[in-house]
């Protein structure tokens, strides 16, 4: 090729360009808008613009004036892991009201939460693969996810937004074949993780696109108060189920997988990905133990109060969702909730994006956003 002659080559070389990514973009996982300043192919600055899905959850929580009515709205905060959002909220209100929950309900909540965690990670991994051009894992992940949804639908009656937990118990009785269904799923799902490893984890193209990219050092992660796989991918062993156990998580034995930099540097996209894959295996372990220990009999609506008598005071309760630490800050008055703030992991984890995407290529930006695994409902609430 003949060299391109330009009147002012120097001026062109130094010019940076601002490009707009989103809110309608196939790989931003919803309606995220990124203002990206690029110097050629290299990203120099990223400015996330959020709020395209701001659904006024906090206003609703105050306006409804009833703790029970808020539960279906918490589902819609992070719709991929709806049960976790409910669980966090319900535990917070129970702590405020000093309610005791029956054993059977606690076990049921843990089993459902772990099933939901697997479903959420499957979706996260599937779409992460999709962003990087791997279409087949997405389809296989969704087949497995559909199996979990079938169990959850049988339990609650809905596929995605369950509204199954309520303050003090569960909305419905547990179906008789729940245990056998779950056992069947657990045994059938184990070999599928190996399949997923064959397809993605060890795939050399996938490794090339994720290793050494978007490295998040542990100190930065802590200063940004990152949580979940984002923090664990950076090598910090921090899991609220282990470090600050809520519900009955202190009764189970499981490991906390952390990123070790097997394919590159500690805290890169691959580490965040592998933490999710290994977490699914740990979730299976928890489900198995919980199914073994769960009491067979018991009324799930035993402790549900007829009318919730609100107390004056405030609580901050945090739980571990698939994306990290979900906190509910509830200020309560005698008449009902006064202020409810949801501190969502997606919101906090996304705020790190400008710090870790500096110097990456434009194509890598997609990988980084995918590896954070945000849900825009959680970011904007």
């Amino acid at each position: 090729m003949a060299p391109v002659t330009s009147p002012q080559p120097a001026a062109i070389e130094n010019r940076t360009m601002t490009i707009n990514m989103g809110p309608q973009h196939p790989s931003t996982h919803g309606v995220l808008r990124l203002e990206v300043t690029v110097d050629g192919e290299v990203v120099t600055k990223v400015k996330p613009d959020i709020g395209y899905l701001h659904r006024c959850f906090e206003k609703y929580a105050e306006s409804l004036g009833d703790y029970a009515k808020v539960v279906p709205y918490t589902d819609r905060i992070d719709y991929v892991s709806a049960l976790h959002q409910e669980m966090g909220y319900v535990i917070a209100v129970e702590k405020l009201l000093e309610l005791e929950v029956p054993e059977r309900v606690e076990y049921m909540r843990v089993i459902l939460a772990e099933l939901q965690r697997i479903a959420s990670h499957l979706l996260g991994i599937g779409t992460f693969g999709l962003d990087l051009g791997a279409f087949t894992p997405f389809l296989y992940c969704f087949i497995e996810r559909e199996n979990i949804l079938r169990i959850l639908e049988k339990v609650s009656g809905a596929r995605l937004l369950y509204n199954y937990l309520c303050v003090g118990g569960l909305m419905r009785d547990i179906p008789t074949d729940f245990t056998s269904d779950t056992w069947e799923f657990v045994t059938s799902f184990r070999p599928k993780i190996k399949e997923l490893n064959d397809l993605l984890t060890t795939n050399s193209i996938f490794i090339d696109r994720t290793a050494n990219i978007g490295v998040l050092p542990a100190e930065v992660a802590l200063n940004y108060s990152a949580s979940g796989p984002m923090l664990r991918g950076s090598g910090v062993s921090w899991d609220l189920r282990k470090n600050d156990p809520y519900s009955i998580y202190d009764r189970f034995e499981f490991n906390v997988p952390v990123g070790q930099g097997e394919m590159g540097t500690v805290g890169d996209c691959w580490d965040r990905y592998i933490v999710r894959v290994r977490e699914m295996e740990e979730s299976l372990k928890i489900i198995e133990q919980a199914l073994d220990q769960m009491p067979g009999e018991g009324d799930v609506k035993e402790a549900v109060p007829r009318r919730i008598r609100s107390k004056e005071g405030e609580v901050y309760v945090r739980t571990e969702t698939p994306r990290g630490e979900l906190g509910y800050y509830i200020i309560s008055e005698k008449s009902g909730p006064y202020r409810i703030k949801a501190r969502t992991p997606s919101f906090v984890n996304l705020s790190i994006l400008p710090a870790i995407s500096k110097g990456a290529l434009v194509a890598d930006l997609v990988a980084i956003v995918g590896s954070i695994d945000i849900v825009l409902g959680g970011v904007d609430r």
């Binding site: 029970a68 009515k69 709205y73 009656g157 809905a158 064959d198 795939n203």
Partner: protein
């Protein structure tokens, strides 16, 4: 050189491992549901559409109050004494005409919170999900079976009875007052006499 060869070999190998998985899946039976011809059976208690057995409704408005979205609108008129509305299938006596019972399914969030409070189990979720519409107004379901004429008639009757009641109440109050006044005056007389 050796590095490059090694790298290409791993790439080649890992791609073929992945292909192997796909091949194994190819031999398995398909999971796809052929929708218009085949349908999955929904589990009992699936939440797809609200339905009201209006004959069983007693007009207590508990579902309306339980709804977080306020998509249920109920209006009732008290039945006059000369009409007997009968009983519901669960044995509860009916005392109200249900003049409106509208559920806006385009606002509903299918949370199932209106179903448990109902004392006669007349509102329930039915497993029917195929009701998409060309016009949004068709998603407003009206369950009240009373005609417009009947509604006005019932309303007038109820108003009349209410008026009658109030008149009677007033009369009774006046009588009571008069009696009281009578008594006090008598007592005063007695006192003065005493």
């Amino acid at each position: 050189m050796v590095q490059t060869l090694k790298k290409s070999w791993t790439t080649f190998k890992t791609i073929f491992t992945g292909m192997g998985v796909t091949m194994r899946h190819l031999l398995q039976p398909s999971v796809t549901l052929r929708y218009p011809e085949e349908r999955d059976e929904l589990p009992s208690g699936a939440r797809s559409k609200l339905f009201v057995h209006i004959d069983d409704c007693i007009g207590c408005k508990l579902c309306e109050r339980a709804c977080p979205v306020n998509c249920i609108a109920i209006e009732t008129v008290q039945a006059t004494k000369d009409v007997d509305l009968g009983k519901t299938s669960t044995g509860n006596p009916k005392r109200f005409w249900i003049t409106t019972f509208n559920i806006d399914m385009s606002k509903c969030m299918y949370c199932d919170m209106c179903v448990p409070p109902c004392p006669t189990e007349c509102i329930s979720m039915v497993p029917e999900y195929e009701y998409s519409e060309y016009d949004r107004n068709n998603l407003l379901f009206q369950f009240s079976e009373l005609s417009a004429d009947k509604v006005t008639e019932v309303k007038e009757k109820a108003e009349k009875e209410q008026e009658e009641k109030q008149r009677k109440k007033k009369e009774a109050a006046r009588k009571k007052k008069a009696q009281k006044a009578d008594q006090t005056s008598k007592a005063k007389q007695k006192n003065s006499e005493g």
